[in-house]
């Protein structure tokens, strides 16, 4: 066991950095960028933890991870034990360790954050999960009494997987329905390999299946089977089908050949493995000069994917400033290190093409910030006469998503708000129809993996309550 070092000593230490692939090399491959901690790195970082009581970090974690406990296990060099501690509340630790915005969750409330050097909780979570996977650690599952109740989960993204895993651990018979041919939702089709290796997603989904969760792929709820039909077969339903539909700007030229939605571009590359074309059959095109519209994580993912697919220059175009950009600081830093140029205060007004439909340029207008709008962010206003044309031959639209109405249309009595998202009780995730719960992006719009996981947990708890009280959707 590593030594317990005295508190003043712990507090002197700086956070341990995580090694990363060199930007010049990594833009030529799809391998993961951050390389992870070694055991020594992890112990060094874990030793910094002050083991606060009560721990503020836990209250900052929607997945309710037992942060001090798992960090203590790392100090004790019980890496398997660390992972098992995380798994008690979070079924997707290797994913969370990678894609959670820890700087806004657990690490934001870490006492060390006052000095701007919080414990690297995400990196430690990733280390423990990776160690357990690589050493094939088997979580000893408590003997659970199977319950005679069936729950349908619609969508196999982070919300659906979490809810399914939690319910399975309580003994429920859970079936996940997935529209695509592979489970994982945004973890599979959206987030690129270099940020979240698909092998890791596959492993964590396999662990969920080991809990007894059944996964039915190629079934589009709302089309192949309606929610109303699921009601006949299941005792409770959790809707977590994601936000899904891409938004466009509705500017001229948006349907030119090489104008992609980020959803299409990333789905081709990630889910269909078009980055390995022609080894995989799905093609993808990439221009020499690519403009990505938007500055969220998806925009960074699309920009960095374009670069890896061979684009010479990639510009991220955003109408506000760096300060308002919704992407994680880390993602923006990664993009810039790789040579992606960020053009702030720039709004596309028209995409220009030739008679074959190929993109030849994008006309933009410069913006300036005015008064704050209803989101609290200063409203960008066009600067008159500042129009200019960017020389690009491909445009990727990453301005966000909106609700896909397919599931909602087939769910009688489940209310949606004016944007098409299910209206739910924040705590129980209950919809307007008894026995039907909802979470993830289809209840809040594009958000984070961790908020989806939080919803999945809350819904599992509420579904357990609902079913334990003897209620059921099915008429018995």
């Amino acid at each position: 066991m590593a030594e317990m070092i005295p508190k003043p000593e712990r507090m002197k230490r700086s956070p341990r950095q995580m090694p990363e692939q060199d930007p010049k090399k990594r833009i030529r491959n799809f391998d993961e960028v951050p390389l992870g901690y070694t055991a020594e790195d992890a112990i060094y970082e874990a030793q910094r933890c002050l083991q606060c009581d009560p721990p503020p970090c836990v209250s900052g974690c929607p997945a309710e991870v037992h942060v001090p406990q798992f960090i203590q296990k790392i100090v004790e060099e019980d890496f398997a034990g660390a992972c098992i501690e995380i798994l008690k509340t979070n079924s997707l630790p290797a994913m969370c360790g990678r894609v959670c915005p820890q700087e806004e969750q657990c690490q934001r409330v870490c006492v060390y954050n006052k000095k701007d050097k919080p414990i690297a909780i995400g990196r430690l979570e990733r280390f423990a999960a990776d160690w357990a996977r690589e050493h094939r650690v088997k979580e000893k599952l408590l003997e659970i009494r199977k319950k005679d109740k069936r729950v349908a989960v619609v969508g196999s993204g982070p919300a659906g997987l979490t809810c399914a895993a939690d319910l399975a651990k309580m003994g429920y018979d859970v079936t996940i329905f997935e529209a695509l041919h592979k489970p994982g939702g945004v973890l599979i089709y959206g987030i690129p390999e270099f940020r979240l290796p698909k092998k890791i997603v596959g492993h964590e989904i396999d662990k969920v299946k080991e809990l007894g969760v059944k996964v039915t792929t190629d079934l589009v709820v709302g089309i192949t089977k309606s929610v109303d039909e699921l009601v006949e077969e299941f005792d409770a339903i959790f809707l977590a089908n994601g936000a899904g539909a891409p938004q466009f700007m509705h500017i001229p030229g948006e349907n030119l050949n090489d104008v992609y939605s980020a959803n299409e571009f990333l789905t081709r590359s990630n889910l269909m493995k078009a980055y390995k074309f022609p080894e995989f059959d799905t093609p993808i095109k990439v221009g020499k000069k690519v403009a990505v519209i938007g500055a969220g994580n998806v925009a960074m993912d699309a920009a960095r994917t374009a670069l890896r697919l061979g684009a010479k220059e990639v510009y991220v175009v955003y109408r506000r400033t760096r300060k308002e950009a919704p992407a994680r600081v880390e993602e923006i830093a990664h993009a810039e290190e790789e040579g992606i140029r960020l053009d702030f205060l720039t709004l596309p007004v028209r995409i220009i093409g030739d008679d074959k439909g190929n993109v030849t340029g994008m006309e933009c207008i410069k913006m300036q910030l005015g008064e704050p709008d209803e989101s609290g962010r200063r409203k960008p206003l066009p600067v008159k006469g500042s129009n200019f044309v960017m020389q690009v031959d491909m445009v990727i639209n990453a301005i966000g998503t909106m609700a896909n109405p397919i599931v909602a249309r087939s769910a009688t009595g489940v209310q949606t708000n004016r944007w098409g998202y299910f209206t739910v009780d924040e705590e129980t995730r209950a919809t307007s129809r008894e026995g039907v719960f909802a979470g993830g992006d289809i209840t809040r719009g594009s958000a984070t993996v961790i908020s989806a996981i939080g919803d999945g947990k809350k819904a599992a708890r509420a579904i357990d309550c609902y079913l334990s009280s003897g209620s059921s959707l099915r008429k018995r």
């Binding site: 529209a179 695509l180 041919h181 792929t217 190629d218 079934l219 589009v220 089309i223 192949t224 089977k225 899904g244 539909a245 891409p246 466009f248 509705h250 948006e254 349907n255 030119l256 050949n257 090489d258 939605s261 959803n263 299409e264 789905t267 081709r268 889910l271 269909m272 493995k273 074309f277 022609p278 080894e279 995989f280 059959d281 799905t282 093609p283 095109k285 074959k356 439909g357 896909n404 397919i406």
Partner: protein, 280 residues
């Protein structure tokens, strides 16, 4: 789900597959489509449903070898399982009792119009069906269509069967003769559908086309299949695949259809070369 129950070669390079898919068959309606993958490395391709049998729990699709995916599909045999099979996607055809309807099918589009013609006939319409292909041996499903049509007219480009010329030549004759055509359905290659729309326009007959846009998910998630209809962007997968052809921006549609042309061609060539090696 996805097992090939029967496979028939119905013309050179054209196969008809009956696929076990009870959940899809139960919901399938004329005009809808499925998306399938042959194998894990395959593409997701949309194919319009050519028929469905709820009792047998099966869906029929017709496919012509035009690239790597359709070539792979044509090599599968009865008993083989498709890697992925999902549907029924898209909106069904608007079947009603209209009166006289002309249904036009070109190439494998002939297979797609079959269930539409059948349902229109059953709904009490007078159904004039026009089918056309390059040459006689590519005219498919003639007997089946004859049974569900009031009248069946055939054309071939080379005159080897039926009337020499295009389906549009036959259609023009029908439109001249028939005074009260309520609606036209046209399914086939994009240039053919556009030509049909051009032919019906002077007669002001509403013309429904089924767009074979490129798709990935087929449920409205990716937007690959965008098309401009009446000045508005629509997703072929969820808003279509059928649209009023007089309102479709054909130039844009055909440009978008050709987006991956070169990549698809090179991938198909490589595949054929490799297959050639295997066989040698």
């Amino acid at each position: 789900m996805g097992r090939i129950i029967t496979k028939r070669k119905i013309a050179p390079e054209i196969i008809s597959l009956e696929i076990e898919a009870p959940a899809v068959a139960e919901k399938a309606k004329p005009g809808q489509f499925v998306i399938l993958m042959t194998d894990e490395r395959g593409e997701r391709i949309p194919l319009t449903i050519a028929d469905y049998d709820r009792q047998r729990g099966s869906v029929r699709v017709v496919s012509q070898v035009v690239g790597k995916t359709t070539a792979k599909l044509s090599r599968l045999n009865e008993g083989d399982e498709l890697f992925s099979f999902v549907g029924p996607l898209g909106k069904p055809s608007d079947i009603n009792r209209y009166g006289t309807i002309v249904v036009v099918g070109g190439g494998t589009g002939i297979a797609c119009i079959y269930p539409i013609a059948r349902e229109l006939k059953e709904a009490g319409n007078r159904v004039i069906t026009i089918i056309g292909a390059r040459t006689k041996e590519l005219v498919i499903m003639e007997e089946e269509l004859r049974k569900v049509s009031t009248e069946l007219l055939i054309s071939t480009d080379d005159g080897s069967y039926g009337k020499k010329g295009f389906v549009t030549d036959v259609l023009e004759e029908v439109l001249r003769k028939e005074k009260d055509v309520k609606k036209v359905w046209a399914i086939g290659p994009a240039p053919m559908m556009r030509a049909v729309c051009k032919a019906t326009k002077p007669y002001n007959v509403e013309t429904i086309v089924s767009l074979n846009a490129i798709m990935v998910d087929g449920t409205g998630m990716c937007g690959t299949c965008r098309v401009t209809v009446d000045g508005e962007t629509k997703f072929t997968c969820v808003d279509g695949p059928e649209f009023n052809g007089h309102l479709v921006d054909w130039a844009e549609f055909m440009n978008r259809l050709a987006r991956y042309g070169q990549l698809e061609k090179s991938s198909f060539e490589t595949y054929k070369r490799e297959r050639g090696k295997d066989n040698g």
